[in-house]
């Protein structure tokens, strides 16, 4: 009996061979499945990538997005790479191949069972393996596992490709917006460069104190820092207006009065019959400190040769000029001192008065230099604002040519006041309302009252309200506020009313 029974070892050896045969048989199927997986996942990656590109390009048609194409195609590329990488990495195992082939070839779990029991030596397991191999032998990998993507997937791919082609071919309406944004950015960059240049010039100016230079420089740097962050013209204008407002706060509110007083005094002195006094007036008018010193020195030398009557007349002329300069207290006081010294005929006192006048004149010159620097800085900001607004208007195609560039003002019929007539739009000049011959109605915002009767052209760009194009509140209110403060300081308004008016404008500023 024992000899008739099949040997257990023989059975196991037979089974092992059978298991190896199963593995050998499954290998070509596995390779084919892997290849199919690579192709299929790549196809999925391409299709999903195209759909993602379409989605992102579609978004870019509603939101201005300059780099949408780079992102879309980059994202699609990443998806494709991930798909291919995953397909290569996740190579199907033999067990998985057996399971898949069971489903694909409708083998009713024959292969997966055979794979699991490949080492089982039970007779029925051997039969099962034979049955599985026999069923599998009826098929070939090439015929059973198609690499063709199939109609549905091809259709999906085709639809996605057509959608992508349409999105690429049909012009994007957001391109115009993007171009405008790019142009705006370019303008912004140009103006930033111009402001930087002005800043450098002001930094190199030695006539003003280091502290004032630093203050102006700080304001300009803040404006330069805010400008690149501006996403719209309104924001840029607002930044510039804020900077201008801060610069205006640096101005001496009495500067114009002092300048006027000095001009009046110099004019009065120039009318004197005495050459030295007349030269002193001229020197005061031109700000020539050397000439002033010479003329005063000559005047002191001349005193000994004058009669008391002549000295009294001369002192009276100087006294008149001092009265003319009452708004410039330092100069007025110095002239009064000079008049008294001349009247007394004491050369020592004349020398002291001369020094005082020179000091007052130097102080006025420094103040004037500071004002000029502020004006220059403000002018550069204003030019930037004008350029941004002007280009924007021209890009809209509705810009009129009514705007005038800031010009040099003159005091008609009077002595030319160097630099005093310089004005910038909205800061000097008179309240004007221009009729626009173009399509836009321009409303000029009243600017700061200028000194004298300077007839200064006003550039309405920053202070112009165009229909359909709002002007920043801060820009307008800053100008009105400045004008109001100046008016209050220059008029005989009771202090309590001054506070009331200042509080009113401060409350308006707070609403921006």
């Amino acid at each position: 009996m024992a000899t008739n029974a099949p040997s257990r070892h023989a059975a196991i050896a037979y089974d092992n061979t059978d298991g190896e045969r199963l593995i050998e048989t499954l290998h070509p199927w596995r390779r084919r499945l892997w290849f199919q997986q690579i192709l299929r996942w790549t196809e999925y990656g391409v299709t999903i990538g195209i759909l993602c590109v379409c989605f992102l390009l579609l978004i870019a048609r509603f939101i201005p997005w300059a780099t949408s194409s780079y992102w879309a195609f980059g994202f699609a590329g990443v998806i494709l790479l991930i798909a291919i990488g995953a397909a290569l990495w996740y190579r199907p195992s033999l067990a998985r191949s057996a399971y898949y082939m069971d489903i694909h070839l409708a083998l009713h779990d024959r292969l997966s069972t055979a794979w699991e029991l490949r080492d089982n030596s039970a007779p029925i397991s051997v039969l099962q393996r034979h049955d599985a191999l026999q069923q599998l032998s009826k098929h070939t990998p090439a015929a059973s596992i198609s690499l063709w993507p199939g109609r549905k997937r091809l259709l999906t791919f085709g639809i996605a490709a057509i959608a992508l082609a349409l999105l690429l071919l049909i012009p994007n309406p957001m391109n115009a917006v993007l171009q405008q944004q790019a142009a705006f950015q370019a303008r912004l960059n140009r103006q930033i460069a111009a402001i930087n240049q002005a800043r450098t010039v002001i930094d190199n100016r030695t006539a003003i104190s280091a502290q004032e230079r630093a203050l102006i420089d700080k304001i300009l740097r803040e404006a330069l820092a805010r400008l690149p962050q501006s996403s719209s013209e309104e924001q840029a204008q607002q930044s510039l207006a804020q900077a201008q407002s801060k610069l205006n706060q640096l101005r001496d509110p009495q500067a114009s009065q002092k300048a006027q007083a000095r001009a009046n005094a110099s004019s009065s002195l120039q009318n004197s019959s005495n050459a030295n006094v007349s030269n002193t007036g001229k020197a005061l008018a031109t700000g020539d400190s050397k000439a002033l010193a010479n003329s005063l020195h000559n005047l002191a030398s001349q005193l000994n040769n004058l009669t008391p009557a002549q000295r009294a007349q001369l002192a009276q002329q100087i006294e008149r000029a001092a009265n003319q300069a009452q708004d410039n207290s330092q100069l007025s006081s110095a002239l009064h001192q000079l008049a008294k010294a001349v009247a007394d005929g004491k050369p020592g006192e004349v020398s002291d008065a001369t020094k005082t006048i020179e000091s007052a004149a130097a102080q006025d010159s420094a103040n004037q230099a500071t004002t000029n620097s502020i004006d220059q800085a403000s002018q550069s900001l204003q030019n930037a604002a004008n350029a941004i607004a002007a280009t924007s208007d021209s890009s809209n195609g509705q810009n009129s040519s009514q705007s005038q560039t800031p010009g040099q003002g003159q005091n008609p019929g009077q002595t030319k006041a160097a630099g005093q007539g310089q004005g910038i739009s909205g800061q000097s000049g008179q309240n004007n309302t221009n009729n626009n011959s173009g399509k836009n109605e321009q409303v000029f915002v009243p600017g700061q009252v200028g000194s004298g009767t300077s007839n200064i052209s006003v550039d309405g760009s920053t202070s112009t309200v165009q229909s359909g194009k709002p002007v920043p509140y801060s820009q307008v209110i800053a100008q009105y506020s400045q004008m109001a403060h100046d008016s209050i300081n220059n008029s005989n308004i009771p202090p309590d009313l001054k506070n009331l008016i200042q509080d009113y404008f401060n409350s308006l500023e707070g609403r921006q």
């Binding site: 257990r8 009713h108 779990d109 024959r110 069972t113 055979a114 089982n120």
Partner: protein, 375 residues
Amino acid sequence: MANKSESTSPQTGIEKAKEAQLENLNTHIGNDVAISEIQAEAEQPGEADIETFTHIAQQLEKELCSIVVGQERVIRELLLALFAGGHVLLEGVPGLGKTLLVRTLSDALELKFARIQFTPDLMPADIVGTTIVSEQSDHNTAGNRRVFSFQPGPIFANIVLADEVNRATPKTQSALLEGMQEHTVSVGDATRPLPKPFFVLATQNPLEMEGTYPLPEAQLDRFLFKVLVRFPKAQDLMRIIDTTVGSQTLQAKQVASGEQLMHLIETARAVPVATHVKEYAVRLLLATHPDQEDAPDSVRKYVRYGASPRGLQALITTSKVRALLEGRYNVSLEDLQNVAFPSLRHRIILNFDGLADGVTPEDLIETIIEETSTS
């Protein structure tokens, strides 16, 4: 003495069987793994056994189909349960051939057949048998003497037809419980084994429910399959006319003996099942429980209790039989899906909502199959 020996001999048989099992167990524990493996190999069915199985199953199916017309599905499910060694509950309206089917099966298998017509006044002793007083001649006294002897009931047969099982009282119904599960009958202080093979094929009528006693869940669970006998189609009715109303009476040929049937059952149990198929069976079973995460919404809504582990055993054993009948040596997922209906339909207990909404266990099983992942 004879009576005594008659009454004790079955018990001795059980003890012997138990001893044999113990010896077998000791052999396995005795560290001689190689010997036990060889023994297991020797018990494994071979190709010839499989061929025999297929041949007998096909013959049996053919015989049954030739006599019971239009119930091919019922016959197939009955054979699945039969070769899996389980009991079957046949449900259908009267006149659909349930009794004929069981009778034909017993004829074809050369098995002892007993029919019990369940009625409300049927007593447990009418099923399992009873001890009676009888007179026997006494050699010592040369006279007669009265002795107690056990009179076996109809349950002592290979195939027991419990006709209209839901018409008897629960007490009587429970008389079947021990026999169905343990294949033994306990009367008094004696436990008697039932003959092998032992199949209970019960029928119940879904109509005329008044005065019936629906089988409790515990007893339903002991049936491997619940087979629904549906009304035949028109062409089947035509065939019924031709085969039953004529002068000739069809008689099934014997295709297998009881011993062969036991061997076939062992053969079917050897069919291998892959792990993923087992896992799918477990998922199917768990999906019948409303408190499981993977249960479909309809199960959560309409089911009170899901199938017991016996349901899982039923799924696997009958799937093995089906695999062989389909010409395969392994169980597939399709086998499980196919046997899920008769295996689980009587094990899914609906709640009030399910009953009120007219939901059937078949609907739920279909949903479970659709929603349960195969991988």
